[in-house]
Symmetry: C2
Subunit: 249 residues, 2 copies
Amino acid sequence: MTYCVAMCLADGLVFASDSRTNAGFDQISTFRKMHEFRQPGERELVVLSAGNLATSQSVISLLEKRAGTGSGDILATGSLFEAAELIGQTMRDVVRRDNPDGKINHVDFSCSLILGGQIRGEQPRLFNIYPEGNFIEATRETPYFQIGEAKYGKPVLDRVLHHETSLERAYQCALISFDSTMKSNLSVGMPLDVAIYRNNDLQLCFNERVDEHNRYFQTLRQQWHQGIQALVNSLEPPAINQKRTTLSA
Amino acid sequence: MTYCVAMCLADGLVFASDSRTNAGFDQISTFRKMHEFRQPGERELVVLSAGNLATSQSVISLLEKRAGTGSGDILATGSLFEAAELIGQTMRDVVRRDNPDGKINHVDFSCSLILGGQIRGEQPRLFNIYPEGNFIEATRETPYFQIGEAKYGKPVLDRVLHHETSLERAYQCALISFDSTMKSNLSVGMPLDVAIYRNNDLQLCFNERVDEHNRYFQTLRQQWHQGIQALVNSLEPPAINQKRTTLSA
């Protein structure tokens, strides 16, 4: 599996992805799921991928091959919206290449992508591109998207994240969301790729590959884990000795 | 959907279930998913159910109908293990009744159950009964089971719960696990049913239907939510302005 999250906030964009892929429990590998298409000063696009690795790699390879050629060119789209359309179409083309008549039912060729970034003249935007190639855009009310193994790490995002959250805080939330996911699910694994984009920079302001030895991640996960223990210890105890009843009563 | 969790701890057992069922978004109802089979002083059995409601209701109805008759009698099994076998077999019988040849493929008739309790002469035990009717038992290393929409509420359990956790603390964890799940997923909903069994009591020591107005649950979810905000605010801030690199570098 995979876990990726991306956030579209007042100050910019935050992206994070894990790097574990598996085809069965005995075929586990490390692949980067964060991809960048850049023209400093003109556009900064980040794509996160989940799902069938053959499909997502082909989509990224085709986008890279065509970048700068003027045809199917992700560096030439007039807007992020058009970039999302191009990626969705490329995804459909790849799935059709590998499963032309849709007859192969025992393999899931689909993948899910997140596209975020900014093109000069537009505001930063964030899109969730579905396996069918259609897509939705993040808004102030729904400032983040997840793909892959999303459920474990969702509660902390839902409690903390909103459109006005700072990039630093959002980055912390993303790391905590990954820590919670990796603690409960073996199919999401280190290292993580993290990138931060600040509005109108037209290039990333920060990116990092976070591995087990990353000092900040170690500190953060320890502070979080100890903080949760302390929080649980501080809760008002329940009065469970006051009732003795039967369920069926 | 549904979310149920049950824990087998040093001091006893804790059970919790939501009550929302849905067949599509416009057919939402409230059904109890916690069921009790009791002979005070002899045995206390609690069953939690998730999955196809027609199947799980039929299983419970058959177990209730046969209780005390001496045949297929859940009040007559010599052990919790035999009770799990009986429930698994009853589940297989119901699925076979409703889908005799296994030909109906567009409906999922399956359900998942958790059985926990104590029969005089045995220790308390906890079983996770799979849709196929086979089952596993909780151990010191794996003291809890979840069925249904389990992922959102798993991280807090994995951080806090272990075999020596007190019943009071485990009850708090269960409520927080439900709060996190309900905040992120609409298909799990109030009221909750909660029951606590203390070793060798041979009857429940506490049970409660927790609705939106439950004062303790209100306090707990507020303390937890505010505590998470405070914990996030206390984390060491990241130094995201120190690096400026490209992903592809």
